[in-house]
């Protein structure tokens, strides 16, 4: 008896802590199933963006359909859905997981379980996925697969006795992974003849085809020419193209997709807002009665101001943000103005990495030169009149007399660290106003620390500080856990006695003096000397808490005449002038754009 089409499908994802080899294993699987020839093979096939390749991270979910000839003589269809590993992109992970029945959990044979391993496993368990542990990098001299197996069994409670011991890099035992996927990951279920229900798990904007909707068919089928309806937004479209994912390309399919399959469709959709991720697609002529449970909307947690370095590029920045938003529902922005920086946007991001990625994409892909203000979280400001404001820009904080109290967002953090560094990490968390919840030993030499921390304290440089204090051995993951009342103040920075709105920060009372001093010191280094002395002050209200002075310029002379070579003189002066162009006028002081960002890195 031959197997039905559904019985031969395996939908799975790979989850792992960053650097444990997720993309490498995906590449190897793609290569071994013959989807790509060795020549076509480019490292990290699923990481399309240059940024993903360079940073070795995955930002967007990607999917690929593979055909695997198993040892039982059958050909199986594998839909491999790649997921990002970083905490900022957890919402992307959960979208991908909802499209799968199983997850391959990679654990590094030398490093063992890390914070993101746990976070990802919990997510996968929430989605009822079959989890299949794989131990990678066994070719490393420091590999200790037996210890790692024990960890998996003790900490996660998964049976790791059959876990393949592989090297994704060399391809060693990757075949075992493929065989196990066939055996362990259950085939999808779902009635092919029922009304269509497809879960949208991602979308991509293509200038020719319109929105390309990535979906997992849960019930029924979808074909070219069908009229579909988005159950949440109510929008209706006629399907133009249906297909599956090759590696890095779309493969149209005349037969369409049936329940259990993963693929895409296009329908000349111009507006991404019409195809929200998490929505259910159904047949407009034979609609399903109930939509699938969607996803939690990913809400921005970190905000910052983005300004074009050249004021004339404001329109370009707006257009670029709109284009990025087409493929990134989590990015939000609205126009704002700053006295120091002019016209720009207040943008919301999922986290600091997300913010960096967007900035880099704007600079690289859209060729924009940006000035960024320090990131901040959303504070809840309870006013004396009973109104509550959600504050995303420190400059807009009402007068203190109008404020009853303020709340700030908190996170639950898990930090896994070698036991030798527990003290250092506890010091760090203490400095960052953390509440200690508990500690557990993974084994004699490794510890999990549980902390509650203000999000405000981890968005700047917490991760860097954690890495440097643990020589890179700590791993870290967090999730938002609500708001808490806190003694917060607005720290203003005055340059030559004028407040620079773009430098204002909301900080905890206890750290205001320290932060103020560091910012003043940093600005002293960043702002060039002028013909007059420039005081730099940090103040809370009218009270100055730190002060530095930039002394007046002493010498800037080209003494020599260079014969009659005036062009050379001119070039030197032009270069000097060029440096000035990138500066912002604050009163009579010229402030380099870098200064606005220098407050980001106060720990250096």
């Amino acid at each position: 008896m031959s197997l039905s089409k559904q019985e031969k499908i395996r939908n799975f994802c790979i989850i792992a802590h960053i650097d444990h080899g997720k993309s490498t294993l995906a590449d190897r699987i793609i290569q071994m199933t013959g989807t790509l020839t060795a020549r076509e093979m480019q490292e990290q096939v699923l990481d399309n963006m240059d940024l993903e390749r360079e940073r070795g991270i995955t930002i967007k979910s990607q999917a690929v359909r593979l055909v695997y000839s198993a040892k039982d003589g059958e050909e199986y269809i594998f839909n491999l859905i790649d997921t990002p590993g970083h905490v900022d992109f957890n919402y992307e992970v959960s979208r991908s997981l909802a499209a799968c029945e199983g997850a391959v959990l990679i654990v590094d044979a030398a490093q063992g379980i890390e914070a993101q391993t746990l976070a990802n496993v919990y997510l996968a368990l929430e989605h009822d996925l079959e989890i299949m542990p794989v131990i990678n990098k066994i070719d490393l001299p420091s590999a200790d697969p037996d210890r790692v197996k024990e960890e998996i069994e003790d900490i996660i409670g998964l049976d790791a006795s059959d876990a393949p011991l592989i090297s994704a890099k060399t391809g060693l035992n990757v075949e075992d992974v493929l065989e196990q996927i066939v055996k362990v990951v259950p085939p999808p279920t779902g009635d092919v003849d029922a009304p269509l229900k497809a879960l949208v798990f991602d979308s991509l904007y293509d200038p020719y085809k319109g929105v390309i909707v990535f979906c997992r068919i849960k019930e029924g089928q979808i074909k070219k020419g069908m009229k579909v309806r988005m159950m949440v937004t109510g929008a209706e479209f006629e399907v133009v193209e249906v297909g599956t994912f090759g590696a890095g390309q779309f493969r149209p399919s005349e037969e369409g997709l049936i329940a259990g399959e993963v693929g895409y469709f296009t329908a000349s959709i111009k507006n991404v807002q019409d195809t929200r991720v998490g929505d259910t697609v159904t047949d407009a002529n034979n609609p399903a009665t109930e939509a699938l449970p969607g996803y939690k909307q990913a809400n921005p947690m970190v905000y910052c101001g983005l300004y074009p370095a050249d004021g004339a590029k404001y329109g370009d920045l707006r257009d670029s943000l709109e284009k990025l938003q087409l493929n990134d529902a989590a990015l939000v922005f609205e126009p704002e103005t700053s006295v120091a920086l002019g016209f720009g946007f207040r943008c919301g991001f999922l986290g600091l990495l997300h913010m960096e990625i967007i900035q880099e994409r704007l600079e690289r892909e859209y060729n924009l030169d940006l000035v960024t203000t320090a990131p901040n979280v959303i504070y809840k400001v309870h006013q004396t009149n009973g109104e509550v404001i959600e504050l995303s820009n420190p400059a807009n904080l009402p007068d203190p007399s109008m404020i009853q109290f303020m709340e700030e967002p908190m996170v639950k953090a898990k930090i896994i660290v070698p036991s030798d560094y527990v003290g250092a990490v506890m010091d760090l968390c203490q400095e960052r106003r953390g509440n200690y919840f508990g500690m557990e030993y993974l084994e004699a030499t490794r510890t999990v620390l549980d902390y509650e921390l203000p999000l405000n304290e981890i968005i700047y440089d917490f991760f860097d500080a954690l890495k440097s204090r643990t020589r890179g051995y700590a791993s870290f993951d967090y999730e938002l856990c609500g708001y808490q009342e806190s003694k917060l103040v607005k720290l203003d920075i005055l340059v030559n006695k004028e407040i620079v709105d773009a430098l204002s920060l909301i900080v905890h009372e206890s750290s205001a003096a320290n932060k103020g001093r560091k910012i003043a010191e940093k600005l002293k280094k960043e702002i060039p000397r002028h013909l007059f002395e420039i005081p730099i002050q940090a103040a809370i209200g009218n009270k100055v808490i730190a002060r530095e002075t930039i002394s007046a310029m002493r010498k800037d002379v080209l003494a020599k005449c260079y014969g009659g070579d005036i062009s050379r003189k001119r070039k030197l002066l032009e270069k000097q002038k060029e440096g000035k162009k990138r500066m912002r006028q604050v009163g009579s002081v010229e402030v380099p754009q870098e200064a606005f960002m220098s407050v980001l890195k106060l720990d250096e």
Binding site: L558, D565, I566, L573
Partner: protein
């Protein structure tokens, strides 16, 4: 029309550690080079309108006086043969101590040379050695003695400050020693460490340091005060003269008057254009005076560029810019052209506006690049 002429002699006995001029110790090429230069002189004179006359000549380098007397003679002869010199023409030749002997003086005396510029830099032999100079202070004294004994040339000497390991006292002593010779003109330059020089390399390697700004300015301010007491007037950022002995040739540069540079890599401003000559010695010699092959990167100055240069060069002079002259030259008031910059710098005390002139203040002289660049 009156123009200035510059002749470049790229040869030196050796390269000083701070020097980034186009010069090298290549004795063998001297004769071929001078032939090519004389060809360029002929072609240049043919290319100029008949009514052109010369108001200033500067023979610089390198060290022109490293040339043997017969080559010096050929050059001088070619100049007086092919150009029409104004009776008041200032004619300067650069020299270094130890390269100007009796025989050379006799050759030069045949021509209407009016001025000699002697490189000294410091009166301290240890400092001279440390900056790569071949001569000693005593050689300079001997050159001055010879010049004063056999010619009536005006004399300039170049001095440097802010040298590595130069103390304030050493610089002060240099000034005090030099004023005793009662020279007409003094150029006093701060050291600039340039890339591609010996000092540039040593700086990269961390083997020499720039002197602290405080010391640099202390030396400069001392020179300003002391030389004034001694009867010298500072008329430019780095130049002092006894009354009536300002260098006319340098004024040509600073007042944007036309000049033609001849020889390797020499720069010109002529007919509203800037251009410069071939910088490769072999290519220069092969071009045999063909102006089309020699002249590179011709740049036509726009009115905007001319105004900018008029300002950043004019402000180098302590007398600064005459508002009326500016308006006559450009048909626009300087106040309409640069209101923002002028008001800003006057308010900040770097520029002075007085009796229809605009000039750098005492402090403005210290930070002039900041001022100049703002006008571009």
């Amino acid at each position: 029309m009156q123009i200035g002429l510059y002749f470049h002699i790229p040869f030196c006995a050796s390269k000083c550690y701070y020097c980034d001029f186009l010069s090298f110790p290549k004795q063998k090429e001297q004769e071929r080079y001078m032939e090519a230069l004389i060809q360029e002189i002929e072609k240049t004179s043919e290319s100029l309108p008949l009514e052109t006359s010369v108001k200033s000549i500067f023979i610089g380098g390198g060290t022109p006086t490293v040339l043997p007397p017969f080559l010096l003679d050929r050059l001088m002869k070619a100049i007086v043969t092919h150009f029409k010199l104004e009776p008041s023409c200032e004619w300067t030749i650069e020299a270094n101590p130890g390269t100007i002997e009796r025989d050379k003086i006799e050759v030069l005396r045949k021509y209407p040379i009016t001025r000699i510029s002697l490189g000294l830099q410091s009166t301290h032999n240890d400092l001279l050695k440390s900056i790569g100079r071949l001569h000693r202070f005593e050689d300079w004294e001997e050159s001055i003695r010879l010049i004063k004994a056999y010619t009536s040339w005006q004399i300039n000497t170049d001095l440097m400050f802010a040298l590595p390991n130069q103390s304030f006292e050493a610089f002060k002593e240099t000034l005090e020693t030099i004023v005793k010779y009662d020279l007409e003109h003094l150029s006093v330059y701060a050291l600039i460490i340039e890339e591609g020089t010996t000092f540039g390399d040593l700086y990269e390697e961390g083997k020499i340091k720039e002197v602290p700004e405080e010391l640099d300015r202390k030396m400069y301010h001392y020179a300003q005060t002391y030389l004034k007491e001694q009867g010298y007037t500072q008329y430019e950022i780095s130049n002092w003269a006894k009354e009536g002995y300002e260098c006319k040739h340098n004024l040509v540069y600073w007042q944007c008057e036309p000049y033609i540079g001849l020889g390797l890599g020499a720069h010109s401003l002529y007919d509203g254009k800037r251009f410069y000559n071939e910088e490769n010695l072999e290519k220069y010699i092969k071009a045999a005076g063909d102006l089309k092959k020699l002249r590179h990167d011709e740049e036509i100055l726009t009115p905007k560029m001319m105004m900018e240069e008029y300002i950043f060069l004019g402000l180098r002079l302590l007398s600064g810019i005459d508002e009326i002259a500016f308006e006559e030259k450009f048909g626009q008031s300087i106040w309409d052209a640069y209101p923002y910059q002028l008001n800003k710098w006057i308010k900040q005390g770097a520029l002075v506006h007085d009796k229809k002139r605009i000039y750098l203040s005492h402090y403005g002289l210290d930070v002039c690049n900041e001022i100049f660049s703002s006008f571009l």
